[in-house]
Symmetry: C3
Subunit: 258 residues, 3 copies
């Protein structure tokens, strides 16, 4: 069972979730994916889940709770993509990690919840409880009701231009690396001789690794998630470009001859 | 075995505790409750422990170390409340999670410590060592000496007024939710038609959930810990009210007719 | 298996490492040592690893990734010190925890990596993959090639003076305690009557514990890592001395009679 939340760990909320899971399945292995997602940043959580979840073994149960709509009519979901199970609110949080679920369920059977369900902490009372039962080998079809649709987050797609693509920054990581929505496939389709523009700066090529540039210099490369990113060797691209709010900032990729 | 400390994780102190536990009981399951308690904030740690610990299965060993008095004459404790064991300094840290222990012990037998015991890191040398032995099924009565009393933290009780209660903020969580010392029972005893006052603001009712108010508006509700809290939908009540030091700030609950 | 990185947990990178390990060895026990090492602070990571790793049981596999040179020609290492295995980049990160390895290996056999190896995330593709295979009982000699030398970090040694030692601050922990490079052995060699000078302040003796001084006062003591440190009871020595960059600041220890 993995856990990803925006709860931080200071307040004991994550501890309560772990306790509920272990109460239902004492020999569950719990791995923290992250609890430092920015409060209520559903997209940030979805990207972190998509970065971490695919590497876990088959049969892993991923519990993700970034849930600004807790207590509203938003549904609680369980998705099965054939490799793993995903449990979380129906707000798109699990849609990047599991874009093509083989089966989808709504969590609508209180018998499998921690009763009484609080109006503000479904992480503990709904999602952790269901995950604990799943870890204890209860089948999805027993504890939830099939459904067809779920809320999808769409990463903005880069726009094809005459000479390449115009995309944007979709994530800034702890190192200040700026991750774009332009994929490795799109970069290689342009062939060699590529230049990258961001915030008035031009980077003359796509490097293989941070170490291909000098300390302190901007570098463009395909990151470990398979998307173009802008970095600074031994530094922070975010700081170097003095970007307060990097998310959404345009990035242009063009073949150098244009 | 759960761990709750104010050590952060940057310095390797928590790692040392985990190592000591696993050295005594290699197949122990260790769950981090929190290591982000504010340095030396015993009350904050006690509240986080009380929020997380009750949800763990019977027989869990909770190790809690927020210990400004390490090296002084303060005692080291082991409490058994019939459901779980609690290990930590005798400064009140475990008294909110285990207010009515069935048995209390002083940790005064160096044979069960990591020798030589450093004067500054009982988390590793006393508490983790004892917890590891407990996890390896050593009985409390074998490794500690019974005692009768322990240091209790008293949350301030709300004051009954003509028209309701005057309580105060006792905790501010990562989301900026302000948790009071007024319980759900006290709120319901007042019946319907309640209004809540904090820092010159009036909230006209107690809602069921954050989603019952509009984005950015103050909302009062009974939180997942069973106490009245003040929140802002999709925001932070602490920021909205511009509270630098929210702890201790008075909160008035009155029936609306007065 | 323990993990120590400078990745933070916000971005899912640590989750990916855990997934890769568990994919190779589903019943591995993973303990987080730290993910809050300052980005690219190899010395800080090395000190945290040295503080935590020795306490783990024999046979533990320690994975440490603070790796500013990822993608460059820096080698990937596996060290065996007879007690534990250490996996990480060859930049000194593991040299304080394992200063005298009994066997050293270069990780140069892609069959044991997560292929294709990204140029920027060897934590996942090289180190976690190798650690997972080691946890699944693959022998070091099978997955790596023996080597003789590795990069060592040298903590600066204190200088012997007429009346004692002049050392320096090598680490500042979460509590603002300032850890020096002067060892307990060097302090006791000076006998009794010692005074400590730092940043124009004189501390008249070496105490046993924080509690030996009054709240808010500077205290010098031998910390849990066996080195002299400067602290403030119930406070932060770093703040008390208004040190922006404490690392490298000189500390003088002299016998008081001089």
């Amino acid at each position: 069972v993995t856990l990803l939340t925006d709860f931080g760990t200071r307040d004991g909320y994550v501890g309560a979730m772990k306790g509920v899971i272990l109460s239902r399945c004492p020999n569950a292995t719990i791995a923290d994916l992250s609890h430092d997602v920015e409060p209520q940043d559903v997209l940030g959580g979805a990207l972190a889940l998509a970065a971490g979840a695919p590497w876990f073994p088959a049969g892993t149960i991923h519990v993700a709770v970034v849930d600004p709509g807790v207590g509203s009519a938003r549904r609680a979901l369980l998705a099965d993509d054939g490799h793993a199970l995903y449990v979380g609110p129906d707000n798109g949080l699990i849609s990047l990690a599991a874009p093509h679920p083989r089966a989808l369920y709504v969590l609508d059977r209180p018998a499998w919840f921690q009763e009484p369900v609080s109006a503000t902490f479904h992480g503990r009372d709904v999602f952790a409880s269901v995950a604990g039962h799943l870890a204890a080998a209860v089948r999805p079809s027993r504890l939830a009701t099939p459904t067809e649709e779920f809320h999808r987050l769409a990463l903005p797609a880069p726009r094809r231009t005459a000479a390449g693509y115009t995309g944007e920054i979709v994530h800034c990581d702890r190192f200040g690396n700026l991750v774009t929505n332009i994929t490795a496939a799109e970069v290689s389709a342009l062939g060699g001789g590529i230049r990258v523009e961001i915030a008035g700066n031009v980077i003359g090529r796509v490097s293989r690794t941070y170490a291909d540039s000098a300390t302190g210099h901007l570098v463009a490369l395909v990151g470990s998630g398979g998307r173009l990113e802008i970095a600074v060797r031994d530094g922070s691209a975010r700081e170097r470009l003095a970007l307060e709010r990097p998310i959404g900032m345009p990035v242009r990729v063009t073949t150098r001859t244009t």
